[in-house]
């Protein structure tokens, strides 16, 4: 009875789920090519909002800042996170659980708590608000995610692989760089990707830790929600991000598909 019901409901459920997931994305894509600035009527097809991403200097700066912060914070947090993960893994079980727990707390913390406390710390140490404070904040919340994605890879490695490398003539440093790092490459890449998306996405923590007129895309958008109708160039930027994500995923899937076919 139950299985029969499930069999009937299977496709409608899948459809509803995908509809809920993709409907907002489609709406934004439609709005990004709408000639009218109002969201309730479609007056014609246009690409002018895409052009405005470049011509609108405040939007352009905001997007540039978003990527600047994302790239630098990803690079730094990947390095730190990987190093910490290797360190955690090298310690005894008891020690590593303690450190891991400490590094997981920022993940569980609500963004607003992280943002506020970082703001308080930054103003306490008299850090200049703006680019430096936002960068440090982004590194701060990205590192735990890198650790979390690198650590399982390290754990699945043979414990003795490091000693094997040392026995075969590597210095401990060389063993890490030439043996361990290549072995956990996929974990590092995953961690970096998560850090990058987290940074591009972030609004709450950035909002609290920015200053001196330095704003990323989400802050820019938020500041324009209050009074003015914001330009659909924001939709255009969003659509571009979605297209970028889709093509990346497609290319990755296609590559792994080809690899598998080669193997068979």
């Amino acid at each position: 009875m139950m299985t029969k019901l499930m069999n009937i409901l299977k496709w409608p459920l899948v459809l509803v789920t995908f509809f809920l997931l993709y409907f907002p994305i489609i709406i934004i894509a439609i709005l990004s090519v709408n000639e009218s600035q109002s969201a309730h009527i479609f007056t014609g097809f246009t690409f002018k909002w895409y052009e405005e991403i470049i011509t609108n200097s405040s939007l352009r700066t905001a997007i540039f800042n978003t990527f600047l912060i994302a790239i630098i914070s990803t690079a730094i947090s990947t390095v730190i996170g990987t190093a910490v993960a290797i360190g955690i893994n090298a310690n005894s079980k008891k020690e590593s659980t303690k450190v891991l727990m400490l590094s997981n707390i920022p993940i569980v913390n609500p963004d607003i708590v992280t943002g506020l406390s970082l703001m308080i710390v930054f103003s306490f140490v008299r850090l200049k608000f703006g680019f430096p404070s936002m960068l440090i904040a982004h590194i701060f919340f990205s590192v735990p995610f890198v650790i979390l994605s690198v650590l399982p890879k390290l754990r699945s490695l043979d414990k003795d692989i490091f000693y094997g490398a040392v026995d075969l003539g590597c210095t401990p440093m060389q063993a890490v760089f030439k043996v361990i790092l290549p072995a956990i490459k996929t974990g590092i890449i995953t961690g970096a990707l998560i850090a990058f998306t987290m940074s591009i996405d972030d609004f709450v923590i950035s909002y609290f830790t920015t200053g001196s007129g330095f704003s990323n895309f989400s802050i820019w958008l938020y500041s324009r929600l209050g009074r003015r109708t914001f330009s659909p160039a924001a939709y255009a930027y969003n659509t571009l991000i979605i297209i970028g994500t889709f093509t990346t995923i497609m290319i990755m899937n296609l590559k792994s598909y080809r690899k598998e076919r080669k193997r068979n």
Binding site: E35, S36, Q37, S38, A39, H40, I41, T43, S57, S58, I72, A75, I76, V79, M119, F122, S123, K128, F129, G130, F131, P132, L135, M173, G211, S212, G213, F214, S215, W220, Y222, S223, R224, L225, G226, R227, R228, T229, F230
Partner: protein, 359 residues
Amino acid sequence: MKKISLILFTVLLMVSLMGCQEKTTMYVLNWGDYINEEVVEAFMEDNNINVIVEEVDSNEAMYEKVRSGNTKYDVVVPSDYMIQRMAEEGLLNKLDRSRIVDYQEGMFEPAVYELMEESGIDEYAIPYFYGSIGIMYRNEYEDVVMEHGFGVLFDDSLLPSNARIGMYNSSRDSVAAALLHLGYDVNTTDSAKLSEAEALLSNMDYAVWGDDNLKNEIVAGNLDVALVYSGDYFDILYIVMDEGRDVDFGYMTPMHTNIWVDAMVIPTLSENTYQAHLFINYFLNVDNALENVEYVGYTPVITDVYELMKEDEEWNDITENAYFRDFYYQEGFIGQMYKHVSLEHYQVLEEIMMRAKMD
């Protein structure tokens, strides 16, 4: 490892160097999309000053940012009641009129400047833009709205029963509209008057309690009349006009209404007060102010700018659509201005709105 520390070191060096520049950098805290960037650029060139404009979405955000002092803003553009609050808490410098050389007595629209003097914020602030709260309507209801003003929001016998009415989802504004309709002071704390206002709000069945979406709903035809800020109306008016669509809606300022003003102030934490005065002065120059008004589109505070726009053919087009005060500020107009109220009073207003929504 050496490489990594080298990279880290260079990044840190870059970060620390980004703060150093030869020119003075001044920080302006403004509303989103509320200044003509070309005028700002001209100011930077004329005075060899670097200006960074930061944008926020509300008066409360401005207050927090100024108070925390994380960035030392030189010019901030809050509204009436928030200027009063900042001034009361000692966050603002008194302006040095001798450094604002283009300032002349009586250069601002009296309708707004007298109210600023009355609430005592004129010593701290130079007005930037002003406007009113009023009623945005679809043209078929123009006659009723013109005749009854705020009445259409509080008397459901005036409009056909299927008319859809929108109310501002902010306790301060919705209660103020009711108080204004009753002919009371918008800042009153008299509980008898407040309960009269509450009765008005509770008796009505509003289709939408909204914010800046109210204007879009009117244009889309989902609402027939709504309480909106004049700025909201202008914002959507220009969009509709630019796109060449029919303007089948209008805005009416009731005879007895609230006047809002956004004005430039200098926080006490400002490290470049000289440049801040220059900046404020720059926007008093008629040519610069005109250029700025053309971008922002709200009602100018400088009488000369207003007169110039009235002569200008391009702007006259908009006059027909209720841009100017001659048109919508009628004879015998009485304006009021929001004052800073206590947290307890806010709580009372908030509760009034909550109860009104439930009924």
